[in-house]
Symmetry: C2
């Protein structure tokens, strides 16, 4: 039980992810989505859609990656895909956040989670590529279901959407991208 | 790809879980927690606290159970632990919700998720007992961190809290209950 206080401190600290607001609307358009419920939804995407991964994936690892992928936003905030935030500054903020937050945990457990988070960020394994694809796919579905959602908010056109979403989704799942790209083209018609 | 439309319909439908409001406060007390972010938080509890399970558990299965355990609330709503709702009526509503919601999925996938949800509800396996323990533990931590939270809202005393939380937490993790019961006693002193 010696590690329990550190572990509970981490679990209390990450409660703040529920207050990090993304740009994506909920499907009922009542409000914007927060990063904690977004992480839950993505984990469900992994459970339901793993058959479409380009390469065999370990669904359990993909789920765990998606559960932790946004935790750094507790310190670093969320940077919208279609916004004008400085991506390299954000990367530095997120690395510092990963140091602090995973550092709250007992040594080995913190290292394991940090390794999993780094794997997601680097996106060089089948599990990480599929996780990244889902992270990019989910807002597309929400925009399609909410009259354009952030595409309208940020005034982006078909070419920009295809260009910003395509590579990441296609690397993880060419079949999901085939479906999504058709839907995007249909939307902008 | 023939199953994709059903799967995406399910993923859109469960977006409504983000609008199901529980009684538990967020730790910063800014608002009440919704069931989607609660499910994310519990999955994180499983990742971090599995070493305290009474029996060996498959963490990946515990996580998946916790991700889906509240999905029925999309139709059936949330019934607070310390409220006066009719538990057997609620059980019927939740079963009907499970029929409808998991029924949106392709046949075998829907059956697999329903089986996992039934296992959680019945709580007769080590994985389900541990998942249930975490579901009961998390609100205790939030109440301890928010000046009593729902214990004050519903005006419940130490004996009621120990009685309503103890059996379920202890069956899954006697060490976590040992810690939590001490903290609860300390709070009510």
């Amino acid at each position: 039980m010696e590690h329990l206080p550190q572990q509970l401190e981490f679990l209390r600290e990450i409660d703040q992810l529920k207050g990090i607001i993304r740009q994506t609307l909920l499907i009922d358009k009542s409000r914007k989505e927060n990063s904690a419920e977004h992480s839950w939804h993505l984990a469900m995407y992994a459970m339901i859609l793993s058959e479409y991964a380009n390469e065999p994936v370990n669904v359990g690892r993909v789920i765990q990656m998606l559960l932790i992928h946004d935790i750094v936003e507790v310190d670093a905030g969320d940077v919208p895909l279609h916004g004008n935030g400085d991506k390299s500054e954000q990367e530095q903020r997120e690395k510092a956040a990963a140091d602090r937050l995973f550092g709250l945990l007992p040594d080995q457990q913190g290292k394991n989670l940090r390794t999993l988070w780094d794997e997601f960020e680097e996106a060089t394994t089948p599990d990480a590529r599929f996780a990244k694809a889902l992270d990019r796919l989910q807002p597309v579905l929400h925009n399609l279901a909410t009259d354009g959602g952030t595409w309208e908010t940020f005034n982006v056109d078909e070419a920009k959407v295809l260009n910003r979403c395509g590579p990441q989704i296609e690397k993880g799942s060419s079949s999901l991208w085939e479906w999504a790209s058709q839907e995007i083209r249909q939307y902008f018609k």
